[in-house]
């Protein structure tokens, strides 16, 4: 693939990783692959904004060579220390040892502790500007979006924002721009990215959006470090971040459960019937056969999370643990929770799940529902009624 032109003299020189299926080690299922976007600006100073994941260094350098000899690179901006964007930096520095590296203070500290390179670091802050010749760059620090070192780079002459991971999507595609790829798929992947990486940082997202708005800078194009570049409709992803970060929701529920002998499964189906009968959209996930990242993504727009497990050894099934642990770390904004399950003698699963939901910041929407052994038809009706009551609670807030 040739370099792709964003604006005169500004090129995408990154890499498409069609094969990536698990990102952050085992943490994030990336079922549509990803891209590592780096950008080359040809001006009086040849400038590279971010690099790519280490195994793709050669591919990026090939792409740069089609434009200029990489040894001529004067400036390298490292918006974020994480290896998927800085991994190729040592290879670039071998070819262009004279290049100055522009990064935040935490970026410098992080790069030193990743690559131990004796390079020419130039620490920048919010408001620092850098002339490239005809055009310039300015920097906006974005601590904890999503690492302490993170920052955005802005090119005012083209109203081009390069915010690194923010506004990205893990999505490998043949084309580089939002108007060339199915919008539904782009937004699905942007949501998955937000829910599984940025969710716990939502308060900071809202503040950063406000800060950037207050700067009053035009944004005609957003070029993130993963997925497609927003050139047709950059407002779409900014509005979506605003919604997600502020915890907006639809009348929708997510029901997650597992079962040993089927009783909790029967309860789950009856509860879903109850919720749906109140016209609240619902997704049902049996956790052992489903992917946690997809469940978390559904939560991004649902109001209610219902979790069910039979009692085992006075607690819940351990297959639920990874999901409940992730939930505690990701802290979904402004969500209701409830728990249910079948038991044989002591009970215990429902209370333990409720404690986990509360620890993750959810508000319990009502009392848990526990049924002894196998539910009979009357008890299944009480499951439906329990679901209806939860759904009415959701609708009451509309």
């Amino acid at each position: 693939m040739d370099p792709v032109l964003l604006k005169e003299g500004i090129y995408w020189v990154g890499a498409v990783d069609w094969d990536m299926r698990y990102f952050h080690g085992p943490v994030l299922g990336t079922h549509r692959g990803t891209t590592y976007n780096s950008y080359l600006i040809v001006d009086e100073k040849i400038t590279l904004v971010d690099t790519v994941y280490t195994p793709f260094a050669g591919e990026m350098l090939e792409r740069i060579r089609k434009i200029v000899d990489p040894s001529r690179i004067d400036y390298i901006v490292i918006n974020h220390v994480e290896v998927d964007h800085s991994g190729a930096l040592p290879e670039v520095m071998k070819l262009a040892p004279q290049a100055k590296i522009f990064c935040s203070a935490k970026g410098k500290a992080g790069l030193l502790k990743h690559y131990y390179g004796d390079w020419d670091y130039q620490v920048v802050e919010t408001g620092t500007t850098l002339s490239l010749g005809k055009r310039s760059l300015s920097f906006i620090e974005a601590p904890m979006l999503h690492w302490p070192d993170s920052m955005f780079t802005y090119l005012p002459e083209e109203a081009l924002l390069m915010p690194n991971d923010a506004f990205g999507q893990h999505l490998a595609s043949a084309f580089r721009f939002d108007d060339q790829v199915d919008n539904r798929i782009i937004m699905e992947e942007a949501a998955r990215y937000y829910a599984n990486i940025l969710y716990p940082l939502s308060r900071l997202v809202l503040k950063k959006l406000e800060e950037v708005k207050a700067m009053n800078i035009p944004i005609a194009m957003i070029a993130p470090s993963h997925g497609v570049i927003w050139r047709q409709n950059p407002g779409q992803i900014i509005e979506a971040y605003q919604r997600w970060a502020s915890g907006e929701w639809f009348p929708k529920a997510v029901v997650v459960y597992d079962t040993m002998w089927g009783s909790t499964a029967a309860m789950a189906r009856a509860i879903v019937e109850g919720i749906v009968s109140e016209d609240v959209d619902t997704r049902l996930f049996k956790i052992s056969v489903r992917d946690i990242n997809s469940i978390i993504t559904e939560l991004l727009e649902a109001r209610l999370l219902v979790v069910g497990s039979p009692t085992i050894n006075r607690g819940y099934l351990s297959v639920l643990s990874p999901f409940l642990d992730d939930l505690a770390g990701l802290k979904p904004v402004n969500r209701l929770g409830a728990a249910f399950g079948s038991y044989g003698w002591s009970k215990g699963a429902v209370k333990a799940i409720e404690a986990k939901l509360e620890a993750a910041g959810l508000t319990l929407a009502g009392e848990g529902l526990e049924i002894l052994w196998v539910p009979d038809s009357g008890e299944l009706e009480s499951c439906r009624e329990w679901g209806r009551a939860l759904a009415r609670k959701v609708k009451a807030e509309l």
Binding site: P143, M144, L201, L204
Partner: protein, 53 residues
Amino acid sequence: MEKWECEVCGYIYDPAEGDSSAGIKPGTPFEELPDDWVCPDCGVGKEEFTKLD
């Protein structure tokens, strides 16, 4: 003097220690930190801190 915790990363500001990385002397209460002081571990602002009791 009260300790304050960064809600984002868990860093605890202890007035008895101050923050040498930002030239804050031991004995400086949280309230007297400059407005532009940031969490030494993760970089977010003072408003992300809550008082520990």
